[in-house]
């Protein structure tokens, strides 16, 4: 077996792993703090890419602008969705949140398909990130290198905020005992709304980062979200660090499989999920109840 081939496929796997990590991170935050299984996450990812396209097409705003504006817009949309729909379901079983967000996802995806067509839209790599980096064993396009670096920094920053800042401490406390935290004078409903907004803004950011690499089409979120749910389950529902590590790890595993046995690459993640769930039902990083 060619070592260069394995290394290069794993490097490419890491790029996909970054997307898995960014998406599963948002899902984990939302599930951890709100208890909602956010099936609409893939749609927010897709919307991020579409907004990047729309900004470039209609307002002449390029990639870097989109990287800031798209998550802000989608984050605000997330706030609206939380206030109008999701907050009414906190007291009910998780399944209700899942059904609501799944319905929303189908609706929005259908709407985008009618508005923009099923074919997809062009979005190119920003000029400043064209070219390639020589890693010795392969030529990695500069843009993919940027995705890995930016993605990992983003994930770690999010993790640091939640685990090590006073804001993160309040968030975590509110998850454990909302009534007690409210008694300390903290507005828990507002905090939950903002959390949802931040979670989906992360998805949109992932969408903008994916736009130059993947096909920008209405089903791009659906294609990736199934894998991302597997990542969240393997990492342990709601575990922030778990979703980051698992996302990157599974990207590598997928890349390795592509080099060794390509046909299995689309199923290897689910095989891993089955094995890990049998051996450790709470996931790799899940806490015991």
């Amino acid at each position: 077996m060619d070592v260069y081939l394995i290394l290069s496929q794993m490097t490419l796997g890491l790029v996909n792993g970054v997307f898995y990590a960014i998406l599963s991170l948002g899902l984990a935050i939302i599930f951890g703090l709100l208890g909602v299984i956010n099936f609409a996450h893939g749609v927010f990812f897709m919307l991020g890419a579409f907004i990047a396209y729309a900004l470039g097409q209609w307002l002449g705003i390029g990639y870097w602008g989109a990287l800031i504006i798209a998550p802000l817009l989608i984050g605000m949309l997330g706030l609206v969705v939380e206030v109008t729909f999701i907050r009414h379901l906190y007291r009910l079983d998780h399944l209700y949140g899942l059904l609501l967000t799944l319905g929303l996802a189908l609706f929005v995806e259908g709407f985008i398909r009618i508005a923009f067509g099923p074919q997809g839209l062009p979005y190119s790599v920003p000029p400043s990130l064209r070219g390639a980096v020589n890693l010795g064993y392969m030529m990695l396009p500069m843009y993919r290198a940027w995705v890995v670096v930016a993605g990992v920094v983003l994930c770690l920053a999010t993790w640091l905020i939640i685990e090590w800042t006073p804001l993160g401490a309040k968030l975590r406390a509110a998850t454990d005992n909302p009534v007690l935290v409210q008694a300390f004078g903290i507005n828990v409903p507002v905090m939950l709304t903002l959390t949802y907004g931040a979670g989906v803004a992360l998805a949109a950011l992932g969408g903008v980062m994916a736009a130059p690499i993947l096909s920008v089409d209405p089903s791009m979120g659906t294609s990736v979200i199934i894998v991302v749910f597997a990542v969240v389950v393997i990492g342990g529902m709601g575990s922030i660090l778990g979703s980051i590590v698992t996302g990157l790890g599974l990207g590598l595993l997928e890349g390795l499989t592509k080099a060794v046995f390509p046909q299995a690459s689309s199923t290897v993640i689910f095989v891993a999920m089955v094995i890990i769930l049998v051996a450790r039902p709470r996931g790799l990083f899940g806490k015991a109840a």
Partner: protein, 396 residues
């Protein structure tokens, strides 16, 4: 006696009604297509526009019978398509199915109409439809997978691109195209350096592209289409893949969505392109009076076959599927670009194919100016000879 009279009156009434109903019935064309899925941008509503143009050529009626076009979405699901087809056959007395542009749906519908007085013009390209699944009332509009594979590989191998790598979507169509493509490459004296199957959920194809590159492929055959193909082209450019991409199905709509920037320097073969000659340009101008883009090759088919069918209905004075389809076989079919095509007894349509090269962005004069027609492949060079056909209708 009174009762007997009553009965005869009743009977004659029924008989009259029975006589009257076929006379008043319309010529019904059922366009069963993909209006929402992966191929809807290429075919869908635009093919409806094309069929309507053919109907308008006859003033909307033949011999006093109104021509009706019914349109439905099969959602690329055989059960949905079959349900609609059954309803159209049993209740609506549809005369001809047009398009059915999904091989799984097409095979299901073709079984349904086998013994019925209904014609069918396939928009799918599974070779089965002109072999074991052929029927006296059925015609294939597209090239079948064998002919398509030859049309794409032979001219390029002649031009020196003799090392091929295939990327195929991992279901029946992709596997079939890949097998036929590999065979065509070997027959033409080329070499297949590798193949890869991608899952329908795949979004990242860079691994396959790198492998093709490292194995020294000169051409990458894309036995896939739509958004997958767009992503492959995008990633090939990102990784600076030097091998040429050669898609099996590249519609103008794909180039429109991905951009010439990404799809420049792609070669393949196509049956119809709107900017091929004065005749196609005139057709395109007329087409755009009712639709917001020029016609793609599948739209052209919808027009040509509907037109040829209606000419047959007029000439034979009959709506009997067997009679009309036989007439269509016996008479050459005029094509939009001025060529003529012939329909064989197995249902395959012999027509010349044109090789193309996508334009460089700088050479494109604007939206929809995408292809440069570079040559012609004769129909006989790509069709499976009738002697190899397994269609029971072929007399050997």
């Amino acid at each position: 006696m009174a009762f007997g009279n009553f009965r005869s009156i009743l009977f004659s009434g029924v008989a009259l009604a029975a006589l009257a109903s076929p006379a008043a019935a319309d010529i019904k064309i059922g366009l069963l297509t993909d209006l929402s899925g992966a191929t809807s941008a290429l075919t869908g509503k635009a093919s409806q526009r094309a069929a309507e143009m053919a109907i308008a050529d006859f003033g909307g009626e033949i011999n006093g019978e109104k021509i009706t076009l019914m349109v439905a979405d099969h959602l690329a699901k055989p059960d949905v398509g079959l349900g609609i087809a059954r309803e159209w056959v049993d209740r609506e007395n549809v005369n001809v199915f047009l398009s059915v542009d999904n091989s799984a749906v097409a095979l299901a519908v073709s079984d349904l109409i086998k013994d019925k007085d209904v014609a069918m013009f396939h928009g799918g390209s599974s070779s089965k439809l002109i072999n074991e699944n052929c029927g006296p009332n059925q015609v294939m509009m597209l090239l079948d997978t064998t002919a398509l594979s030859r049309a794409i590989t032979i001219p390029q191998i002649k031009a020196g691109s003799d090392k091929w790598y295939f990327i195929a979507v991992d279901y029946a169509l992709g596997q079939d195209l890949m097998a036929k493509g590999s065979a065509a490459v070997k027959n033409a004296g080329g070499e297949v350096v590798g193949t890869a199957l991608h899952s329908p959920q795949a979004t990242d194809f860079s691994a396959f592209l790198l492998e093709a590159q490292s194995k020294g492929a000169k051409t990458i055959g894309l036995a896939t289409f739509g958004t997958w193909q767009n992503a492959i082209a995008k990633q090939a450019q990102e990784f600076g893949v030097t091998a040429k991409l050669s898609p099996y199905y590249l519609g103008d709509t794909d180039i429109h969505s991905t951009g010439l920037e990404t799809l420049q320097n792609i070669s393949g073969a196509i049956q119809f392109y709107w900017d091929m000659n004065d005749k196609t340009r005139a057709f395109s101008t007329k087409f755009q009076e009712g639709y917001n883009r020029p016609p793609t090759f599948t739209n052209a088919y919808a027009y040509e076959f509907t037109h040829h069918y209606l000419t047959g209905v007029k000439a034979t004075g009959s709506k009997d599927a067997k009679t009309v389809v036989q007439w269509m076989r016996d008479n050459p079919m005029p094509l939009i670009n001025g060529d003529t095509a012939t329909i064989r007894e197995d249902g395959y349509t012999l027509r010349d194919v044109y090789t193309y090269q996508t334009k460089k962005p700088a050479d494109s004069k604007g939206e929809w100016d995408y292809l440069e027609i570079t040559g012609k492949v004769a129909a006989a060079d790509i069709a499976t000879p009738l002697s190899d056909s397994t269609c029971p209708l072929v007399k050997k």
